[in-house]
């Protein structure tokens, strides 16, 4: 129940933004010149660019992290092979990859997508490995005696029980992806909300800065709440 309520807490935020938009468009507030509509300030093109980068980078990074996590969690030999390599790479901050990625991809769409990919990959990977490894070994024993093959055990026991950990990774990284994309766009990419923020700063457009920060906050919150809701939907019955 608590988590469902948390998802509902987004509704007032959206109502507030809707009222802002309506009030400005219908010119209900005197001096509306200084109070432009929300969507005019945020500039949808920039927002959609950032959104697309986050979605593509986050989805591909999460899927790759999940698949690698499953392999490493399930097969000890794969874990032993890759764990030392990933342990070296994991502590590097996502933005730390920026210089090398700029050299590899140049200033292109691949650059922010790759940064989000890296930012999403490692946490999902480690959460999936932990989720699978912490499943009670006795459950696997019983499933085997009931006739389950290795693959069936993975799909019917290990993955469903690792969901809680996987969702923790997704939830934390969905917010982090937005923070990272803004930082990347501010320093290296000429389009997107981060770039808009930098331009607004040079033009001293405080309204744009505030709206961009609000959009960022709402997107971080929305992504996190979405995964909290999904986790609740999929695991609350049995947890």
């Amino acid at each position: 129940m608590e988590r469902i309520k948390a998802a509902y807490s987004l509704i007032p935020v959206f109502i507030f933004l809707l009222i802002w938009e309506m009030a400005a468009r219908l010119e209900l507030i005197p001096g509306h010149f200084f109070f432009p509509p929300f969507t005019a300030v945020v500039q949808p093109a920039n927002f959609l660019k950032s959104l697309a980068r986050v979605l593509i980078g986050f989805i591909t990074g999460s899927i790759a992290g999940l698949l690698m996590g499953i392999l490493m969690g399930y097969k000890e030999t794969i874990n032993k092979t890759f764990h030392p390599i990933f342990s070296l790479l994991y502590p590097i901050p996502a933005l730390g990859w920026l210089p090398i990625l700029m050299l590899w991809f140049g200033i292109s769409e691949m650059l922010p997508i790759m940064i989000i990919f890296i930012c999403s990959f490692f946490p999902i990977l480690y959460n999936t490995v932990t989720g699978i490894k912490t499943v009670d070994k006795n459950l696997i024993k019983v499933a085997k005696t009931l006739g389950a093959s290795e693959r069936k055990i993975l799909s019917t026991i290990l993955l469903p029980l690792a969901l809680t950990n996987i969702f923790t990774g997704l939830r934390l990284e969905s917010g982090m992806a937005w923070r990272v994309i803004i930082a990347a766009e501010m320093v290296a990419i000429p389009t997107g909300i981060g770039a808009l923020l930098m331009r607004a700063e040079s033009l001293i457009r405080i309204d744009i800065v505030i709206v961009c920060l609000m959009v960022l906050s709402v997107m971080c919150l929305s992504f996190e709440k979405f995964f909290i809701y999904m986790e609740h939907k999929l695991t609350s019955k049995w947890r």
Binding site: N138, L139, V142, A143, K144, T145, L146, G147, S149, W238
Partner: protein, 370 residues
Amino acid sequence: MPAIELKNISNFICRNISLKIADGELMVLLGPTGAGKTTLLNIVSGLIEYEGSILFDRVSIDEIPVNRRSVGYLLQDLALFPHLDVASNITYGLKIQKRHVYEIKTRLDEMLNLMNIPDLARRYPKDLSGGEKQRVALARALAPLPQVLLLDEPMSNLDPLTKETILDEFKNIQRKTGITTIYVTHDQDEAFSLGDRVSVLNKGKIEQNEVPDELFYYPKTEFVARFVGAKNILKARIIKIKQHEAVVYINNESLAQPFKIKVKRYPFFEKGKEISLCIHPEKIILKRVNEAVGNNLNRIRGKIVNIRSNGKTLKATIDIGGTEIYAAIPKALSDFKIHEDVWVCFAPDAPHPLCGKRCRAAEASRRFLN
């Protein structure tokens, strides 16, 4: 259901175990923690590697992997799948084996009714009591109609009342289904009330394998004697042999003076030979020092050094010249006090010699002689 035969089973714990379990029999493996009971179940189920051979109805199953061995395994912590409801837990094995939907539904209803849990089908394990979990786990193990049922201390987490009910129900279900069963426990009450036969395991070896009464009254080794509760172990030397009786000296070094008692005679008894005797605390009779003791009873004078009661029974520890003797007497018949001097009495047939494998043969020939 198949008869099971274990032939020279060995691994990191088990040492050369051979055991035969008849078709439909309930064999209890009894032993302390670390004796190798669970390991032996894991071996039969195919979960761990082993040397030797396992036969189901004289056919070796050594090459059959665990998921095709057709064994139902009920673990100590039950290991219900927490993300599946009761119905899905019970039908897990059937679905894995891709049985027909109608068969799955029918079998589920059968199991829910057999375990008397028809209302629990949609509940999740977290919402079940200990007894309910037990029933669900047993239903899950039985649902795919396994050839053999293995149970690893399944009652260890239950309160005594629920345990008794579940044990009764389990015994009935086992009889009804006629499934060959290996049941592991460290609780002798559970072992003797359930088992058609009981095998005592110690340090990876079978110490004794008997029907419950034989094991309880005629243990072969000191370990088995202590484990089944015959805690009084006395060293003795045979001094005289009669037709049905032998006279022995209790020659414990801590006793001020050795004294003689009469015990049941065994054919392998030889004059001058040292033997160990065990006596169940229940077979000890306590008499006050001023009370008359019948000639047919052996008696030793001692002092009560400890008394505790568990409701119906009074458990007294009596010191006889430095050796402690344990007695369990009905509470209603006694009002003994601590530090009281008493006669420790027992019938000549109460002490049982611990004579390894010769005991059983000796017991058979003794009966023949009688």
